[in-house]
C-alpha cells in the first residue's frame, strides 16, 4: 500500500503546485523537463525493467517525434494537435522497422545495436538539409489549448504532467492486460512464454514500439515547448541519461521511473546551484559530483531508490477484476482417441545421441508415464514433443496432424500444455497473474484494447478461470502473493494450474511431484485422476515410483536415450531389463 500512497502523494504535490502562490517559475520549467523525461522513462521501464530489453536509443525516438511535428507545423502550418498522431505514428513506425531488424539481437548485441542506430540518427539529422542540419529547425508554434497558447512554463506544466499521468495510467493498464502479461513473461524466459502461445518475438516488438511511442509523445511536447530543435538533445548522451534515470529510480516499476526522472532532473539543477557555494569556487564540478553520487546511490540501492522507499518488490499492486463466469472449457475428446503419436523421435547434440528412435502415444483419458534413470533423455523427449527442441529425425502427430518442426506456440494452440522441470514462473508477477498467462491463447485482446482498458469483460473471465484453476489445485488463498515467495513445491503446483488454464486436451507434466510432501502428493494424485476422468490425456515424467505406479495406465521406460520397454505398471515392474537398468538399482 505504501507504494500507491507515496505515488498518490507525489502526484498530488505536483498537481497542487500551480495553486501555491510564490512558487518560483523556474520550478515549473524544471518539472516540465522532468515530466518530459518521465514520459520517456515510463516507456523504458516497460522495455528494460519489465521486458528485459536494454535500449540505448530512446532519445532517437524522442527526436523522431519532435522532428515529425516540427516539419508538419513549419511546412504545412498544421496545428500541433493534428501533428500529434503523426508524431506518435512516426516514432512507432520507426520502432517497428528498427525493431524488426534489431530485436533479433540477443544478449549484449542488442544494446550495441541501439547505440549504433542512435549515433547514426544523430549524424543523419545533422547532415540533412530538410531538417535544418546541425542548426535544426526553429520558430515552431506553441500548443494552443482552447484558444490559449501554452507558452509559459506554468501553463505547459499542466499539459505535460497530464501527459505523464496518462502515460502512467495507460502503461499500468497495458501491463495488467493480456499483452502486458506476455511482456512481463519475457523476463521469466522465452520458453515458458512460447509454451503458452505467446509470440515472444512479436511481444518484444510491441514493447519496443510502445516505448518508442511514449518517447514520440515526449518529443512532440519537447518540440512545442522549446519551439526550436536541433540534433543535440536526441544524441546518444540523452539516451544514456534516460537510462540512468530509469535505473536510479527503479527499473522494475513505472513509479520508480517517474521518481528517477524527477530526482535526476532536480539533482542536476541543484548541484549547479549548491556546488559553487559548497566548494567556494566556480567550476565544472556538476558532472563529477553527479557521477559519484550516482554510483554511491546504486551501491545502497541496486534495484533503484523506489523499491527502497516503498519496500515493495512487485511492479503492480494486486489486481481484482469484477467477478465473472470463467471461460468456457474446450469440449472433451472422446475417450481413447489418440492425442499424441510420436514415432522415431531422435535428437543428437553433436555426436551424442540424447534421444534414440523413441515411439509412444497418449490417448484421451489416459495417464502415460515416461520413466528412466537420470540422463535417460526424458526431458529432451518432452521438449521434442512440445516443439521446444528441434527434432533431428522422427515425427510427432497431435490430433492426427503432423506437427514435427512446428514451434512451441503452434503446438500450444492445438491444446497441449506443459510444466517444466525447472520451474519457469515470472517471479515478479502474482500467482494468479502467472496462472492467467496460461489462458493467453483463450483471450483475444491486443495491446491497444489492453492499454485503453477496453478488455474488461475478457480479463474478468480470464481471471475467473485462473481463480477456478488455482482453487482446483488447492492454492486459491495464495493468489495475490508474488510467485517468487512460494516454496518450490507450491510453485510446481502453480505451474500445473497455469497449464490447466490453457484448457488443454493433453497435459505434459515434468516431475510434478518433486519437492511435495506426502499429503500434497496425494492431493496431486487425486487431481490427476479427476483430470483423467474428465477425458484429458496426461504424459508425465516422474522419479517417484510409488506415485507413478499408483497413477499411470502405461509406462514408457527409457535408458540412455532409447526405449527399454512399454506396458502397464505391473508388466513393467517385472520386466527383467527394467529391473536391471533402473528399478534394480533403486530398490
Amino acid at each position: 500500500m505504501r507504494q500507491s500512497l507515496l505515488a498518490a502523494l507525489g502526484l498530488l504535490l505536483v498537481a497542487a503546485l500551480p495553486f501555491v502562490p510564490g512558487v518560483p517559475p523556474f520550478w515549473f520549467t524544471l518539472l516540465n523537463y522532468a515530466g518530459l523525461s518521465a514520459i520517456v522513462v515510463v516507456g523504458l521501464v516497460v522495455l528494460t525493467g519489465i521486458a528485459g530489453i536494454m535500449s540505448f536509443g530512446q532519445a532517437m525516438f524522442v527526436g523522431i517525434g519532435a522532428y515529425a511535428t516540427a516539419l508538419l507545423s513549419l511546412h504545412l502550418g498544421l496545428s500541433p494537435w493534428l501533428s500529434l498522431p503523426v508524431s506518435l505514428a512516426a516514432s512507432g513506425l520507426a520502432a517497428l522497422v528498427i525493431g524488426a531488424i534489431t530485436l533479433r539481437l540477443s544478449g549484449h548485441y542488442l544494446p550495441l545495436g541501439t547505440i549504433a542506430w542512435n549515433i547514426s540518427f544523430f549524424y543523419v539529422l545533422g547532415n540533412t538539409d530538410a531538417l535544418g542540419r546541425y542548426d535544426g529547425l526553429s520558430g515552431l508554434p506553441p500548443i494552443v489549448l482552447f484558444g490559449f497558447p501554452l507558452v509559459e512554463s506554468r501553463h505547459l506544466f499542466a499539459l505535460i504532467w497530464v501527459c505523464v499521468a496518462l502515460s502512467i495510467l495507460v502503461t499500468q493498464r497495458l501491463l495488467r492486460s493480456r499483452t502486458g502479461r506476455a511482456i512481463r513473461a519475457l523476463k521469466g524466459g522465452v520458453i515458458a512464454a512460447e509454451a503458452f502461445g505467446v509470440d515472444t518475438g512479436r511481444t518484444r516488438i510491441v514493447a519496443f514500439v510502445y516505448a518508442a511511442m511514449l518517447a514520440g509523445l515526449s518529443g512532440w511536447l519537447y518540440a512545442h515547448m522549446q519551439r526550436a530543435i536541433n540534433p543535440t538533445p536526441f544524441g546518444l548522451n540523452a539516451s544514456i541519461e534516460v537510462l540512468l534515470m530509469t535505473v536510479l529510480g527503479g527499473a522494475g516499476s513505472v513509479w520508480g521511473g517517474v521518481f528517477g526522472a524527477t530526482l535526476v532532473t532536480l539533482l542536476k539543477d541543484q548541484l549547479q546551484n549548491v556546488l559553487p557555494l559548497l566548494l567556494g569556487a566556480q567550476g565544472n564540478f556538476e558532472a563529477i559530483v553527479f557521477g559519484i553520487l550516482f554510483v554511491l546511490i546504486l551501491q545502497r540501492a541496486p534495484d533503484g531508490l523506489w523499491p527502497l522507499l516503498t519496500r515493495r518488490a512487485t511492479p503492480l499492486p494486486p489486481h481484482h477484476p469484477a467477478p465473472a463466469a470463467p471461460l468456457a472449457p474446450r469440449p472433451a475428446e472422446p475417450p481413447g482417441r489418440v492425442l499424441l503419436d510420436a514415432a522415431g523421435l531422435r535428437k543428437t547434440f553433436g555426436g551424442l545421441v540424447a534421444v534414440n528412435d523413441i515411439d509412444f502415444s497418449v490417448k484421451a483419458g489416459e495417464v502415460v508415464a515416461l520413466i528412466g534413470p537420470n540422463g535417460a533423455g526424458k526431458s529432451t523427449t518432452f521438449n521434442l514433443v512440445t516443439g521446444v527442441a528441434r527434432l533431428t529425425a522422427g515425427r510427432v502427430r497431435l490430433f492426427d496432424r503432423d506437427v514435427s518442426g512446428e514451434p512451441a506456440r503452434a503446438i500450444a494452440r492445438l491444446g497441449i500444455a506443459r510444466t517444466f522441470q525447472h520451474v519457469k514462473l515470472v517471479g515478479g508477477m502474482s500467482v494468479i497473474e502467472n496462472v492467467a498467462l496460461g489462458a493467453h491463447l483463450r483471450g483475444r485482446a491486443g495491446p491497444v484494447r489492453g492499454a485503453l482498458g477496453l478488455d474488461g469483460a475478457e480479463e474478468a473471465a480470464i481471471f475467473a478461470e485462473a481463480r477456478r484453476q488455482l482453487a482446483r489445485v488447492g492454492l486459491a488463498e495464495l493468489a495475490d502473493r508474488p510467485a517468487s515467495s512460494l516454496a518450490l513445491g507450491q510453485q510446481r503446483i502453480v505451474e500445473i494450474a497455469r497449464a490447466l488454464c490453457l484448457s488443454p486436451a493433453l497435459l505434459l507434466l515434468d516431475e510434478p511431484a518433486a519437492g511435495l510432501r506426502f499429503r500434497e502428493k496425494q492431493a496431486l494424485g487425486d487431481l490427476l485422476r479427476q483430470l483423467r476422468r474428465d477425458g484429458l490425456g496426461i504424459l508425465l515424467v516422474e522419479h517417484d515410483m510409488d506415485f507413478v505406479m499408483g497413477l499411470a495406465d502405461r509406462l514408457v521406460v527409457m535408458n540412455f536415450g532409447a526405449k527399454l520397454c512399454e506396458g502397464p505398471p505391473v508388466a513393467v515392474r517385472t520386466n527383467p531389463a527394467v529391473v536391471e537398468a533402473y528399478l534394480g538399482s533403486a530398490a
Binding site: 528494460t48 536494454m54 531488424i101 534489431t102 533479433r104 539481437l105 540477443s106 544478449g107 549484449h108 548485441y109 542488442l110 544494446p111 550495441l112 545495436g113 547505440i115 549504433a116 542506430w117 549515433i119 547514426s120 549524424y123 543523419v124 547532415n127 524466459g189 522465452v190 520458453i191 544514456i240 537510462l243 540512468l244 535505473v247 536510479l248 527499473a251 567550476g283 565544472n284 564540478f285 556538476e286 558532472a287 563529477i288 559530483v289 553527479f290 557521477g291 559519484i292 550516482f294 554510483v295 546504486l298 551501491q299 541496486p302 521446444v388 527442441a389 528441434r390 525447472h422
Partner: protein, 345 residues
C-alpha cells in the same frame, strides 16, 4: 580511389584499429572476470596521454592528486569490505596498497615532474600513476556492486565515466595535447611510408594480445581468474577472492589504457573527452568478439578501423553512420550464431 590511396587507407585503418583493439582487449578482460562493461576504459587512454603531455610540459598533472584521493577512498572501501576479518596483517596490506603505493608514486611525480623528465621517465611515471587507479576504482565503485545485474553494473560504469570525464576537464582543460613520438623513424615501404610510432603501436598491441591469450589460456592463475566470473567458490579455493580478481583485471585494463594513450598521443591530438568515442569503437569490437575472444575482438577492431578509414575517404560527413550501420549485419550474424535456444538456468 586508386591502389595507392587504398593502401594508405588500409594502413591508417590498421593503426586506428590497433587503438580500438587495445581497448577491446581490456573490455573483454574486465568483462570476463567481473561482468562489468568498462565504459571508463577510454578515460584511462585520455588520462595516460594527457598525463604524459603534462610531464612533457614540465607540470605535475591533476591525475597525481587524483591518485592519492582514489587511494584514500579505496582504503576506506577496502576496510569496510574486510571489516569482518580485519587483522593487523590485512590492515597493513591494505594500507600499503592504497596509501603507501600512491604516496610513493606521487612523491616521485612531484619531485621529478617540474623538471621536465625524459620521455622514458615520463612514460614510466604515467603508467605508475594510471595503473593503480584501475584497482582503486574497482574497490570504490564496483566491489560493493558485485552481486548486481549486468545492467546495474553497466550503468554504474557510466556514472564512473561521467565523473572521470568531468575530472579530466578540470585537470587538463578543454584543449587537446600531443606528445613527442617514441620513434621518429619513417620507413619506406613501396608507395607507403610507415612511421616508427605506428610500428610501436601495432607491435605492442600484438604483444599484449599474445600475452593475454597466454595468461588466460595457459596459466593456472589466468584460468582461475576467468573462473571467478562464473564460479566464485572455485576461484576462492584457488586462493583468488573476487576482490583480488577485480583489482587485478581493472589494473591490467588501466595499464593497457594508459599504454594506449602513450602510444596514440604522438599520432593524434587527445582531449579530455576523446575517450568516449574511441572507447565506443573498442566496445563495438569487443562485442563483435562476443566479449570473450581476444583474437576475435582484435580482428574486429582492425575491421572497424578500416571501415572507418575508407568511410572517411568516401563520405566523411556520414563516417559514423557508415561505421555503425555496417556493424548491424555483423551483429545479426554474431547474434544468430551465438543464440542460445535454451534459457535453462
Amino acid at each position: 580511389m586508386d591502389a595507392t590511396i587504398l593502401m594508405l587507407l588500409l594502413q591508417d585503418g590498421v593503426v586506428n584499429g590497433a587503438i580500438y583493439a587495445l581497448i577491446a582487449l581490456s573490455l573483454v578482460l574486465v568483462f570476463t572476470v567481473t561482468r562489468v562493461i568498462l565504459i571508463p576504459q577510454g578515460e584511462f587512454v585520455a588520462f595516460g596521454a594527457l598525463t604524459l603531455a603534462a610531464f612533457e610540459a614540465g607540470t605535475v598533472p591533476g591525475t597525481v592528486p587524483l591518485l592519492l584521493a582514489l587511494g584514500a577512498a579505496a582504503c576506506a572501501a577496502d576496510l569496510v569490505e574486510a571489516r569482518h576479518a580485519l587483522d593487523a596483517r590485512r590492515i597493513l596490506r591494505i594500507a600499503l596498497r592504497d596509501l603507501v603505493l600512491p604516496g610513493a608514486v606521487a612523491a616521485l611525480a612531484y619531485a621529478l615532474g617540474p623538471g621536465k623528465p625524459t620521455l622514458a621517465l615520463g612514460i614510466a611515471l604515467t603508467l605508475a600513476i594510471v595503473t593503480p587507479m584501475g584497482a582503486y576504482l574497482h574497490s570504490i565503485a564496483f566491489r560493493p556492486l558485485e552481486k548486481a545485474s549486468v545492467l546495474v553494473l553497466l550503468v554504474a560504469a557510466v556514472g564512473v565515466h561521467l565523473a572521470l570525464t568531468g575530472l579530466g576537464l578540470v585537470f587538463f582543460g578543454a584543449e587537446g595535447s600531443r606528445t613527442p613520438p617514441l620513434s621518429d623513424a619513417m620507413l619506406p615501404a613501396g608507395p607507403l611510408s610507415v612511421s616508427g610510432q605506428s610500428l610501436w603501436m601495432i607491435g605492442l598491441t600484438l604483444a599484449i594480445i599474445v600475452a593475454l591469450w597466454a595468461f588466460f589460456g595457459l596459466t593456472l592463475l589466468g584460468k582461475a581468474l576467468m573462473a571467478t566470473a562464473v564460479n566464485r567458490l572455485g576461484a576462492r579455493l584457488m586462493g583468488i577472492g573476487p576482490g583480488m580478481a577485480g583489482r587485478l583485471s581493472f589494473s591490467v585494463a588501466a595499464f593497457i589504457g594508459a599504454l594506449s594513450g602513450v602510444l596514440v598521443a604522438p599520432l593524434t591530438t587527445i582531449y579530455y573527452d576523446t575517450g568516449f568515442l574511441i572507447g565506443l569503437k573498442g566496445f563495438v569490437a569487443a562485442i563483435i568478439g562476443g566479449l570473450a575472444s581476444y583474437p576475435a575482438a582484435a580482428a574486429a577492431a582492425v575491421l572497424v578501423g578500416i571501415i572507418e578509414s575508407v568511410a572517411a575517404f568516401e563520405a566523411s560527413a556520414f563516417k559514423e553512420v557508415i561505421v555503425f550501420m555496417a556493424i548491424i549485419p555483423v551483429l545479426l550474424w554474431r547474434s544468430a550464431r551465438a543464440d542460445p535456444v535454451e534459457d535453462e538456468e
